[in-house]
């Protein structure tokens, strides 16, 4: 039951409506039951495994936070992290390597997300940043919270626990964020998808223009799709009074690769910075620059392999590690140069933006291509056949659907414009001075317009469910 499916669009309003009449003290229990119901709708086995992992981490947290016995706390903390890592790695491996007569084992729903939540809990308790969770119901609800279970964002249990029991919900904000996410997914990402799918399915049969189109379109599709999924998850969270962490901050405006990684999939990168990079950097700090390079490399490989144990994700991580090391090691000299030549600062920012976007797009080819060989072919055949652009382009547009492609690209341009202008913030500022009847009338008209548009597009798609790209992790 994906977030864009008809079943889910019936399930959500029903659950949100019931939630309004559930007494505040029972809301966490209600969320827990609904979240496990949702997980069971995907797979009862997967839900059961999540329950076992949750019980395990909850008990481990009790002992890891025991200040009376430091030795036992350390042993429990170390064992718990090892077990959770093995649990994650096992399913990452079995997803790509057949296991005898069982074939490939499908990973439980949201494995990568809830395992990271559980690990951060054990680590935070051991480090003394938080106290062990007082209630198992609250803890289990934080781990299984259904808006985030399929694809994040990775909200650390401590952040969730400070917001429960949720006394107030933010219906309008939640709904508008949810609808904005669905619009991005259906109008932009899904319209760019046919072109991207076509290129990456036929890489070695193509040359020139279509390959270039795939190179530029996939990151745009990925951003529209993944940020839409975050909007939907955060919007749903607000319907239940839970504010989740943001995942994106206009990543394609970054002027350096380190700035980019502060803006892309932020809940994952922040997690890895706190629990992988910082401990590694502390351990290697006496090694100076080499220690920094090793820490960055291992951290970025973890970013890549978190998505799955394939060579494509490995190269994606390795490339980003190389970019980041280069960026960090030259940061001081670049800063000194631009201070000495202030007139070149603006030009430097533009060049930095252009370079950052293209470097990341190159890495994304490895992320998306079926094999590393496909990715290398795509990157090395841009120029072959560019002379036939006039012939290639109409053919490509015919194959992937020119109206869909134009709608997707136009929608993406509007997305960037809206994220720059932020009309929602303008609306938020003016709201207190606008009479309540007018506020709700405007909200109603906007909601009606958007829902009508989405309904039209969904019906046009013939009830076809289009899963979000990040739901597979």
């Amino acid at each position: 039951m994906t977030f864009t499916s008809f079943k889910f669009l019936l399930f959500l309003p029903l659950i949100a409506a019931i939630y309004q009449i559930v007494p505040v003290r029972c809301r966490v229990l209600f969320l827990l039951v609904v979240s496990y119901g949702y997980a069971c709708a995907w797979s009862v086995r997967g839900a059961a495994m999540m329950a076992v992992a949750t019980i395990f981490a909850f008990i481990a947290g009790k002992f890891a936070g025991d200040s009376d016995s430091q030795q036992r706390a350390y042993a429990v903390f170390l064992s718990a992290i090892a077990v959770l890592t093995l649990y994650l790695v096992f399913f990452k491996i079995t997803a790509v390597l057949p296991m005898g007569r069982f074939g490939r084992l499908a990973a439980p729903l949201g494995l990568s997300y809830y395992t990271f939540k559980l690990m951060s809990y054990v680590l935070d308790v051991y480090w003394g940043k938080i106290q062990p969770a007082p209630s198992f119901t609250q803890f289990a609800a934080a781990i299984a919270f259904f808006p985030q279970i399929a694809a994040g964002p990775i909200q650390r249990p401590a952040d969730f626990l400070t917001q429960v029991p949720p006394a107030r919900t933010a219906l309008w904000m939640g709904l508008s964020r949810l609808v904005w996410g669905l619009a991005k997914k259906i109008l932009i990402a899904d319209n760019l998808a046919p072109a991207v799918n076509y290129v990456f399915a036929h890489v070695k049969g193509l040359h020139g223009t279509p390959l270039l189109a795939g190179f530029y379109l996939f990151p745009l599709q990925m951003y529209a799709d993944f940020s839409a999924l975050t909007d939907v998850a955060l919007g749903m969270g607000l319907l239940f009074g839970i504010q989740g962490p943001e995942n994106f901050n206009r990543p394609f405006t970054a002027c350096s690769i380190s700035d980019f990684w502060r803006r892309w999939h932020m809940s994952l990168t922040n997690w890895l910075v706190d629990y992988v990079f910082t401990p590694l950097r502390m351990a290697t700090r006496s090694a100076g620059t080499a220690g920094l390079a090793v820490s960055i490399t291992l951290n970025m490989l973890a970013v890549g392999l978190w998505h799955g144990f394939t060579w494509g994700y490995f190269v994606f991580g390795a490339l980003n590690a190389t970019y980041l090391v280069g960026d960090v090691l030259t940061a001081r000299s670049r800063s000194g140069f631009y201070k000495a030549h202030p007139k070149l600062d603006r030009l430097g920012s533009w060049m930095g933006w252009l370079l950052t976007v293209h470097l990341f797009f190159v890495a994304m080819v490895f992320f998306r291509a079926h094999t590393v060989s496909d990715a290398i072919y795509l990157l090395s055949h841009f120029s072959s056949g560019l002379g036939t652009l006039r012939l290639d382009l109409p053919h490509f547009a015919d194959v992937v659907g020119s109206s869909s492609l134009l709608l997707g690209l136009g929608g993406y341009a509007v997305l960037e414009l809206l994220e720059r202008c932020r009309p929602d913030q303008w609306w938020h500022r003016t709201e207190p001075v606008v009479p309540q009847w007018l506020r709700w009338s405007v909200r109603f008209v906007i909601a009606l317009f958007v829902m009508g548009g989405l309904f039209f597009v969904t019906v046009r798609a013939g009830g076809h469910e289009s899963p979000f790209l990040y739901q597979v992790f």
């Binding site: 480090w127 380190s258 502390m282 920094l292 960055i296």
Partner: protein, 86 residues
């Protein structure tokens, strides 16, 4: 090194911050966080920690470093560590 309190540590840390973040005019306050200091990110956070360790001849643990939220926390921890040195 003689014992110091949090206010003295904050003053002494100012020089370290100015060097690490290449900002000669930087003034520290207890409530400051990484968001208030330009270029203070996860990448050079440990450079700052190493610079403090060298200046005061102390050692921080990962557990201590990950628990820091504000400049005041860092000053308090530094003062405590320096005062504990025999």
């Amino acid at each position: 090194m003689p014992a110091m309190d949090q206010t003295q540590a904050l003053l002494a840390l100012t020089d370290v911050f100015r060097n690490v973040f290449d900002d000669p005019g930087l003034e520290l306050r207890d409530g400051m966080t990484a968001a208030d200091v330009e270029n203070w990110d996860s990448l050079n956070h440990i450079d700052l920690i190493v610079a403090i360790e060298r200046k005061f001849k102390i050692k921080f643990t990962t557990r201590e470093v990950t628990g820091l939220k504000t400049v005041g926390d860092l000053a308090e921890l530094t003062a405590r560590k320096v005062s504990a040195v025999p």
